[in-house]
């Protein structure tokens, strides 16, 4: 037990360290933002820009999971339900008030934050397993309620729903006045999401970040050190719900007339899977998660004509692979494994069994996806290769 524990410690991915040259990181981030803000809209078509808008929104949702699981060690299976609540609140508010869009973002975030805290509150004092269960059930309950009251379409009353929508056409959630077009709105979303990431980073770098890290390492030790566990857990839940609510508001304005089909329950599972595959311990992982959740289905369906349901299988296998042999996710493991592979090719250094199976596992995942795309007539071949990935990962264990 002790040895295994020590090994787990050793295998832990390094948290972003302070001594890494901060200027280089800022430059990389600035460069990526420039590409996202100016190169993408100039070169890509409308479908692509819409997809990238969704990528930004879902990255922010995944960032909420990074806060909850990566930093505090709490898992929430209901983040998509919180996103749906955010979207609903934003839609209802636009039809009831004339708030300017930035204010709407903040108010939606605040209301969603309050609801999220209320959901998490009963389970915060119990172990993480109970929080996971209660959020899963809350997601189910939110689905039930939403299926009943539907999204507002411009009516009155609390639900804002009317059976006779106005004759001119369905009312839609308006976008900000100076970001009406798809390209402009995409830029707006990227900027808001970047601000949300910044908010999270500021938390990581200050007192709450340290408190969360202490809680994740050991609750009793954190308690002994005088950290108010319930307060900091609530804080994390509030922050995650807030940025998810803001993302929900952005989503409402993106689709205009949201409906319940935008939030299938299985998305909550996909979100967990992609966030872990991307790398739950850094915000880069959240961006990878957004890409996996939104860009891949778009590529599969619209670009390559492949059944996007295969992605669920790929996500499942990738999740097992990550849990077993690469807890840091792709952002942490991929460079390491590629370096290992490079060393193997360059020097023919014999790999350890674990590293060999680890590399084989990641390669199986990638080759499998490529096979699914290329062998459209026989996707089963690709799926079999993908399924090998977690099996290799399990073999790379002791």
């Amino acid at each position: 037990m002790g040895a295994a524990h020590a090994q787990e410690r050793a295998g832990r991915p390094r948290l972003p360290s302070i001594n890494r040259p901060i200027i280089a990181r800022v430059l990389v981030i600035a460069g990526l933002l420039v590409v996202a803000l100016f190169v993408f809209p100039a070169t890509l078509g409308g479908d692509w820009i819409n997809t990238f808008t969704s990528v930004a929104i879902y990255s922010t949702v995944a960032a909420g999971l990074v806060v909850l699981y990566g930093r505090v060690g709490m898992i929430s299976l209901g983040q998509i339900a919180i996103l749906a609540i955010g979207t609903w609140v934003a839609t209802r508010l636009t039809f009831a008030t004339n708030l300017p869009f930035p204010v709407l973002l903040l108010v939606t975030g605040a209301i969603t934050c309050a609801i999220g805290v209320l959901i998490g509150l009963p389970a915060l004092r119990l172990s993480g397993l109970y929080l996971a269960l209660i959020t899963l059930m809350a997601a189910g309950a939110v689905n039930v309620v939403l299926a009943q009251i539907q999204f507002p379409n411009g009516g009155g009353g609390f639900t804002g729903r009317t059976d006779q929508p106005s004759a001119i056409g369905l009312k839609a959630v308006p976008r900000p006045k100076w970001a009406l077009g798809d390209n402009a709105y995409y830029r707006y979303v990227v900027v808001v999401c970047a601000l949300m990431f910044l908010l999270v980073l500021l938390h990581f770098a200050s007192k709450p970040g340290r408190g969360w890290a202490a809680i994740r390492e050991s609750e009793p030790a954190a308690l002994a050190a005088g950290i108010n566990i319930t307060l900091y857990k609530l804080w994390a839940f509030a922050l995650a719900s807030f940025i998810t609510g803001v993302a929900g508001c952005l989503l409402a304005a993106q689709i205009g007339q949201p409906n319940t089909y935008s939030f299938p329950t299985s998305d909550s599972l996909s979100l967990i899977a992609t966030a872990l595959i991307g790398g739950i311990f850094t915000l880069w992982g959240a961006i990878v998660a957004g890409v996996f959740m939104q860009l891949l289905p778009f590529l599969f369906q619209a670009q390559w004509g492949v059944n996007p349901n295969f992605l669920l299988i790929v996500f499942g296998c990738g999740l097992l692979q990550v849990l077993l042999s690469a807890p840091g996710g792709l952002t942490n493991q991929f460079p390491k494994d590629m370096a290992n592979l490079g060393r193997l090719i360059a020097r023919k250094v014999p790999l350890t069994r674990q590293a060999a199976f680890g590399i084989a596992s990641i390669l199986a995942l990638i080759v499998g996806i490529v096979l699914i795309i290329t062998l459209k007539s026989a996707p089963i071949v690709g799926i079999i290769v993908v399924v090998l990935s977690p099996v290799f990962a399990s073999l790379s264990q002791d």
Binding site: P220, N309, F315, P390, S394
Partner: protein, 309 residues
């Protein structure tokens, strides 16, 4: 039909509610059944199996296919459904169980989410749902009707309830009086020490996976019938009701789990005829679990667990 006098207690017309009570107890029986399967597996291996519904749904889909698209005897289809549940769980337990054994319960649980995702993907690929097309899987027992206390009950509903109670009794006795049951309890206490004492830990855990898998296949089959349509997404997420049952049993007590399952099914069903709440009755598991959690969390509990990995 006997002449029944409508009677009322607490201002509620119980005569009118009888069919709902019957259906509620039957559904509750299946929730309790799955709940017991979940709790026993959790106690033996520390894995909270969120793929319970997905495995049952996949088994039921296979049974549906065999009944409707082959000329094989129906009993073979039903047996296959149950056996499929056992086989998938056993396979997962044998391949991934040992690798997850020393990890945090949260990580073990997320591992089963992966199984659920894979099964959901396969089901959505091989058996796409949508439009007006509805799959219905009716068990032969659903055509036998009896009258119990003036309510019409079919054999499937009786079987569901009886099976739940029987499983709870048998499992309780099994855990207490058999060598294998003692091994389960020992592993639940401390896996390492149990292994040192010469218990074949991996084989015992595999047996737990197999047993809970068989229960899960049976639950899938019964739910596909009781739930009126075989909608695999709904069946997959019906695991929520079973989890509520397990939670009411505090992931520990089989009898409380049985009670919890029946309570969830009963409350859910009895709200059906009341127009103002009927649409929200599916939120029952959530509401009941919240109440239980508030009760459990009334004192601060500091959890001494290794950090989440």
């Amino acid at each position: 039909m006997s002449s029944v006098v409508a009677f009322s207690v607490f201002g509620v017309d119980w005569e009118f509610l009888k069919p709902y009570i019957v259906l509620g107890l039957a559904l509750g029986g299946v929730y309790a059944l799955s709940g017991v399967g979940i709790v026993v597996l959790y106690k033996a291996t520390g894995v909270l199996n969120l793929a319970f519904g997905a495995v049952g749904a996949a088994g039921a889909l296979i049974a549906y296919w065999m009944v409707n698209h082959t000329s094989w005897p129906h009993w073979l289809a039903y047996t296959t459904c149950v056996a499929f549940g056992g086989a998938v769980n056993l396979l997962y337990g044998v391949v991934f169980g040992p690798a997850f054994a020393k990890r945090d319960p949260l990580v073990k649980m997320i591992g089963t989410l992966a199984l659920a995702l894979i099964l959901l993907g396969i089901m959505a690929w091989r058996a796409p749902a949508g439009g007006a097309f509805v799959r219905v899987l009716t068990l032969p027992s659903s055509t036998h009707y009896y009258t119990v206390f003036g309510a019409r009950v079919n054999l499937t509903q009786i079987l569901a309830l009886a099976f739940a109670i029987a499983l709870t009794i048998v499992t309780t006795l099994f855990l207490r009086y058999t060598a294998l049951g003692t091994a389960y309890r020992a592993i639940a206490n401390d896996r390492e020490i149990t292994a040192t004492l010469g218990v074949p830990v991996r084989r015992v855990e595999a047996s737990a996976w197999l047993g809970s898998g068989l229960v899960c296949g049976a639950a899938g089959l019964l739910l596909a019938d009781l739930y009126t349509s075989l909608d695999y997404t709904a069946l997959t997420f019906l695991v929520i009701s079973s989890l509520a049952a397990a939670l009411i049993g505090r992931l520990e007590s089989l009898w409380l789990t049985l009670f919890g399952g029946l309570l969830v099914g009963f409350v859910q069903s009895i709200l059906t005829p009341y127009g103002s709440v009927t649409a929200y009755r599916a939120a029952t598991p959530f509401v009941l679990s919240i109440i239980v959690l508030l009760w459990m969390g009334r004192r601060r509990v500091v959890v001494f667990a290794p950090s989440t990995r």
